[in-house]
Symmetry: C2
Subunit: 410 residues, 2 copies
């Protein structure tokens, strides 16, 4: 393997043309699309029109004339095929954290004496915090179980009120077998919420086929929706009818503009809406999703794997002696679209990489994380990043960088 081989792989790659949809800074090697996805050119081109015409000229009438009222649902319908869901099962609004709260609060209302709430130790923090807040609110009705990845299935039984798992672990990239865990939950009558934040747009997702009932996810990673873009909520068609909202805002009222004094829930997936969604940010999400138009999702999954394998192979060859230990699973089916390494100086190394034009993430305490965004990343990017890292380690260049004050976002 050398750089010329990577160049040939890029030439032959069916996804290569789609890189043109993104406005990537010249010369930057961006391995952080799993934290903040790159800017679609169409977002940059359109956002001024949305502001000047839809808001500035259309004013309040754009709620109907520009479909603002339906944007949370329309965006959800656009997300649906990317996660193996159907139209009418997804809406896009609020943050991932708030969406988790909505679902978990409602599902825990019908726990019928079951006591445990199961999640993974090392799950993305906000997922655990949301559960802690709800359990605290229940005055001790539930116990939080922080299971290790390999003991999760064993922790789910007839006493489990709720399971909340991230499909892909934000630190290691380890990916759960969603179909198998879902089947186990179903067998025990346990509702499960899946957090797809690090999955959608990069790894195989077949929510309907796998029998998944509830999920949330963010749109600013592999879906390229922009910083802090609204997140989404999924409910399978056959659980929507029984779902009773706890966070009962006017956007889920059966007759929103009747301005009735008492709450009556609407019938569809809009049950998961609460207040007015941020329209400018939602418009950006629609452009992010549109970057997948005409893309074969099998190609996306395949490229995620081949890019990741290239990175692992090159690291085995050129970085193992410098103290990097692979923290992600080697088996592709157990790995999300990222490759993480442990290194005692991961923070300083991430800074040295940045100085060399490579953006990768440090994650406390010792993780160096390379996100793989298949829609716009190239094989040569992987080659050049490993080459830069090998040079930094050979020269001791990382020592010039402070080891204090971690700074980054998921």
């Amino acid at each position: 393997m050398d750089r010329a081989v990577c160049e040939r792989l890029d030439r032959d790659c069916p996804l290569a043309p789609f890189r043109e949809r993104f406005a990537l800074p010249e010369g930057l090697l961006y391995f952080d699309g799993n934290s903040l996805g790159a800017l679609p050119k169409s977002t940059a081109a359109d956002i001024g029109r949305v502001v000047r015409e839809e808001w500035g000229r259309g004013l309040v009438e754009s709620w109907l004339d520009a479909d603002w009222f339906f944007l949370a649902r329309q965006t959800g319908d656009a997300i649906a095929p990317l996660i193996g869901a159907s139209a009418g099962e997804v809406v896009c609004a609020d943050s991932t954290s708030v969406n988790l709260f909505k679902l978990a609060a409602s599902l825990l209302r019908h726990s019928e004496g079951r006591r445990t709430v199961v999640t993974e130790r090392g799950n993305f923090p906000t997922d655990v915090y949301i559960l802690e807040g709800l359990i605290d609110l229940s005055d001790g009705k539930f116990d939080l179980v922080l299971a290790e990845p390999e003991t999760i299935v064993g922790a789910i039984d007839g006493d489990t009120a709720l399971v909340l798992l991230s499909h892909v672990n934000f630190r290691t990239g380890a990916m759960h077998d969603m179909a198998a865990i879902t089947a186990h939950c179903t067998a025990h009558g346990v509702p499960a919420i899946w957090d797809l934040s690090h999955s959608a747009g990069a790894v195989p997702l077949a929510l309907n086929r796998w029998g998944v009932e509830y999920a949330v996810g963010c749109t600013y990673k592999f879906l390229n929706g922009g910083p802090g873009a609204p997140a989404y909520v999924y409910m399978a068609q056959d659980v929507i009818a029984a779902y009773e909202p706890v966070v009962t805002g006017w956007f889920s009222h059966a007759n929103q503009f009747g301005f009735e004094d008492r709450y009556r829930s609407t019938a569809g997936i809009e049950k998961c809406l609460v207040g007015t969604p941020p329209i400018l940010s939602l418009r950006a999400v629609m452009h992010g999703i549109a970057c997948f138009d005409g893309v074969d999702l099998d190609d996306v999954v395949q490229k995620s794997r081949t890019l990741s394998e290239l990175l692992i192979d090159l690291a085995d060859e050129r970085l193992a002696h410098a103290g990097f230990v692979l923290a992600s699973p080697r088996e592709p089916a157990r790995r999300g679209s990222q490759v993480s390494f442990r290194h005692p100086e991961a923070y300083a190394v991430s800074k040295a990489l940045r100085a060399a034009g490579v953006v990768a993430d440090f994650r406390s305490p010792d993780i160096l994380r390379f996100g793989i965004a298949p829609l716009y990343m190239r094989y040569v990017d992987v080659w050049d990043a490993v080459d830069a890292l090998a040079r930094i380690m050979a020269s001791g260049g990382w020592m010039a960088h402070s080891t204090d004050a971690p700074e980054a976002v998921t």
Copy 2:
């Protein structure tokens, strides 16, 4: 009073120059700034830069380099002087509904056996719905009291767990005496949340001076933050320390990037944050707030009153015989920045007005609502709108418009 007088009032108005800060459609008479505020020119000019440079070029590093991490707090600090609060008492994120839920959920946790939750019958629906959801979640621990405006104070006593009131009623524009009601609540040890959605940027607000402890409000009305722009939460400095979040997302963790497994709340007003806020929409809010730079808020309040009085006087003279009944208080100190009329054909009339180039709101069942946005509205706008309405009523022009299917937003 004739149109020439209005033209002279506009020439002499100290706020007249600030109209230039807004991109208003030529020829439109816009009386809906209390639903969706007009577009600031600086938003239109800057949003493309935010997208292309902060997101597109800065990518994930803009969380620090472009201050995204601090934007919810910075925006809150910018809102603070507009509501009589101090820096460090306000953050901007999530929707008004979600912010109400956060505060109410936490305050009801410490209700110490008190049973009633008091709000106003005819309050903005989402405020009531959020309370209903929380009361339902409490399994009957609380009773919802929907008081009439004149019986609210009498309904608040030692058995009251929480009060939630909108300062200005969205239908009638009736404005509560926030200072007096707050004093009454304080005397009975009752926490009160004020919804400032229809107040901020148009009527006098002195939250600190009035002893107000908790408030929320939206930014897309008189604050011109854009459609669905994030809302804000206010807590007085002396209640922040005791406040314990129930919706416990990672943005309020004491050590957010330590990624700790258990939740520990931060110390400041950031306790009211949950998940990642929508950055593009927050940037727009900052521009909306900046439209108040150099503006004397006393001038804003004064102009809101004189414009409203002009509208009421002209309506008395030219519309009373056509069946319009003033639904807003006549006394300026009891009225927010809107003038509402009842009319049995309010919906059809609003449509006929729109056809004549006047945007005013219908509110179910029979309200025609004229919002007064003092930063960009003119005396001649009021004259021309009443003139158009008088002509419509004289000609019977409203009859051509359907009376079905109300459509509008607050």
